[in-house]
Symmetry: C2
Subunit: 584 residues, 2 copies
Amino acid sequence: MNQLTRYLPILAWGRQYNRQTLVSDMLAAVIVTIMLIPQSLAYALLAGLPAEMGLYASILPLVAYGIFGTSRTLSVGPVAVVSLMTASAVGQIAATGSVGYLEAAMLLALMSGLFLLAMGLLRAGFLANFLSHPVIAGFITASGIIIAFSQLKHVLGISAHGENLLQMLISLARHLGDTNPITVAVGVPVLVFLFWVRSGLKPLLVKLGMADYPASLLAKTGPVLGVVATSVAAYYFGLGEKGVSLVGKVPVGLPNLQIPALDNPAWKHLLVSAIFISIIGFVESVSVGHTLAAKRRQKISPDQELIGLGAANIASSFSGGYPVTGGFARSVVNFDAGAVTPAAGMYTAGGIALAAIFFTPYLAYLPTATLAATIIVAVLSLVDLSILKKTWNYAKSDFIAVATTLLVTLGLGVETGVACGVFASLALHLYKTSKPHMAVVGEVPGTEHYRNVNRHRVITHSDILSLRVDESLYFANASYIEDRIYALLESQPEVRHVVLMCTAVNEIDLSALEALESINTRLIDHGIKLHLSEVKGPVMDTLQRSHFLQDLSGQIFLSHHQAVTSLSRHPATPGTGPSQNWDI
Amino acid sequence: MNQLTRYLPILAWGRQYNRQTLVSDMLAAVIVTIMLIPQSLAYALLAGLPAEMGLYASILPLVAYGIFGTSRTLSVGPVAVVSLMTASAVGQIAATGSVGYLEAAMLLALMSGLFLLAMGLLRAGFLANFLSHPVIAGFITASGIIIAFSQLKHVLGISAHGENLLQMLISLARHLGDTNPITVAVGVPVLVFLFWVRSGLKPLLVKLGMADYPASLLAKTGPVLGVVATSVAAYYFGLGEKGVSLVGKVPVGLPNLQIPALDNPAWKHLLVSAIFISIIGFVESVSVGHTLAAKRRQKISPDQELIGLGAANIASSFSGGYPVTGGFARSVVNFDAGAVTPAAGMYTAGGIALAAIFFTPYLAYLPTATLAATIIVAVLSLVDLSILKKTWNYAKSDFIAVATTLLVTLGLGVETGVACGVFASLALHLYKTSKPHMAVVGEVPGTEHYRNVNRHRVITHSDILSLRVDESLYFANASYIEDRIYALLESQPEVRHVVLMCTAVNEIDLSALEALESINTRLIDHGIKLHLSEVKGPVMDTLQRSHFLQDLSGQIFLSHHQAVTSLSRHPATPGTGPSQNWDI
């Protein structure tokens, strides 16, 4: 039973469902539905898909996530970055607007769903931890910039395209002369209105006498006003005939259920993209889910989230949608609007389904510029260049990771950007551990504590070299450490005992063990004994499975203080502090 | 001047050159030359090249290394693994025996030389440290097995080939019926003789009254007897007409100097192989160089070694040779024979040049089977399957690295094997650091030392959670550690202070800093203070560049003991030892 509840979280929260949760969830669903309609349409446009696919991707996926997901308030559906990645993946194998394009988008959702599901069943959620914050910040900001510029053409009524940001900007500049003034007359006011809605609508509502909380919720639904106003204007003034691009005729009703052809040869070309979309969607979704769950002292299970998102994407592909994930903005609105359980998402699905049935005829007159403006406003909030300054000040390796991800994403797209970012951050981490910090340590007077002779006024003994290696000993640093120890000893002819303080040594692998054995042998030749202190339990367990402890010329000490007090034959030298010139 | 000596080590040792070193070096050169002649011919055969290219690759490269190399006793030239890799790289773009094949082999040497040179100038020698001992042991053993089986056909006088070991074995079995009995009659006795030379020749010489040291040196030249005996037999009995494969006509004299065409379109196909050959050759050479240098308390400089090997490979390519590196067997012989400086290598080059001028006419009658037997005996000494048992007992991650490298090399070749081995060892290392060991610690009675409550009988305080995280805090483990801390606190309602003991924390990157900030905030909500103890200097430097220290609810303590004594308000609980059930 427990096992079943783990894989079907609905069995847990569903049992406690009551009238009160129903009311809360219903209210949240109404707000989110109104907010989602323009957003879903807009993200479908961003993905290069017909507007209705945005709605389709907001119906069944929400129900599927509601059954399998562990976050109580996550709202699943089309999101900006995944839509951009879908456009870039599918755009490489089919022309926008072709049947092949739609089929490929659905296939991509299916592949992504299956991949997520497999990751979940294999409990591979921890892999997402290898995307560091700098990498995530870098690609989110870069995606925001790319998306915003990619939508600018719709607001200007021109056509422009490019493989990367630079090409896009050049193409935009080249076509600037073709700007359609009427499109601009629609697009720019909507853009201004939407920016104002973000910050100005709520204060206005409060001024008009509305309470703070409902005002902030109502303000979230503001964008729908832009949709209605521009659609009405397009209808009455016949803007379609005046060169303003409109959404056009959209099929009425719910999507047909169908299983995408898995024998579509496109799958080979989509495989890498499906994996990237899955991982990036998962990371976005889990970080939102974590944040919201923490606010209510709830928990999400990353591995089960993979299953929930997998189910949502499979559902999306079966119902004419494209890849989805848990979105930041929509989830926050859902949470703020008082959603208590995933049922809120199911009611939202119902709302969107009603919209697909009754609202689609009116979409024909919706200007594309309105949707583009919706996207621009949404994604500009993702752009945060301050991370560059923050990482520059904090640690250069984090800065390099951000800058690499940002620049490569801008130049070569999200997939390459993220891959380079992850590679750079792992490479930097490994590089640092391959040349670890080492410190000669001495006793802090009046304590049994040992610290770096370069930083503290400590007591040392001329016949003992107390050395702290600040890293696990493993293949990448084994010979580096060996060389450093020999170099240190050359400058210390009086030393008779080398004590390696192993507080930071969490592992000694075979390569490092061989290095230790060779240090031990070489020191014996020089009449010096090698000792270890403060070796941790797990490391000691490993060493006991080798011959090293028998071969070791010295001893293993529980604490470094015990090592020094039991070994020293020379008088202690009071520390002169940081003036000592140890080159460490 | 110092800078010049660094890049031209010959200026350092050349200045101290005297009559005594001359005599030592000359003696060593004579021994090594006699040993090298059959070996060079054999490795050229292994590489699929005409026998004389093995000689050419043993002349100028030795001179070039003598000028630029830092090892006093390393002997550079064709070696088994690099010859195998050359055959596999060049074999993919040209047919064995074609002009294109020879040109590609020379181009490969040039590319490898340029790559090594570039690595040396960029001081990228540390990269070789990422090849762990298990990976090296795995591919050396696998290469030995592949090479031995690949030469078996020459001893049997049949033709067989395969892309991998399995195919090769099947092909061998299939052609077993074609075995040429006369070839076997030559090959098998030579094989037995060479095996006997390894262990039986020296005792025999000693028995005959020779002193121990000259006997062991002379024994190294034993294989040349096999060459002479079988060549003479082939000449007198006309074995060539009886189906025994002979080396055949070989050009007399020194190689023509020439620069390989760099516009050869083959370079694109050879690039990856050139990089692999360079790295693997470098690793082999440096490990031999290190071992020998340590015996005489000398040093080698890995970055300058890259330059030395780069020069050797460029020289090889200019003089009709193929990729070379410092070989294990030949260097040990050079060392044992008393070589004192790289001049020994230069005299060896002179010896090989004389052989190329005067000896080549006699090569026509040398049976291929003799060379194959030379190779088989040499490489079988590389095969060491005991590493599997050793790593299995010591650490499973090392075992996985060995097994992966061994199996993939056997199945898919050296390049793929090494790549998979390096990938596996890095992935395992990162995986371990992503789920680090954590220990709740308490005071070891009578000391100021704190150890794991699960392994030691220690004193704890119910209001303080003393937690030691055994890893640097970085993106891959930040959220794991965060979750673990929350889980621990749930089972400890009395805790008012969490003290993170940072002895093993060598880095806190931005992702981990954000995790710490969120832990800090969440603990404040629960009325718990977060403290850090024993934060190392470099980590403290980083933290001081952020807001964390201002936001931290608790303090930073120099030692964990100070933290506990100054924070505790509750009486100490004497430890009950390992019976406590902390699930860590």
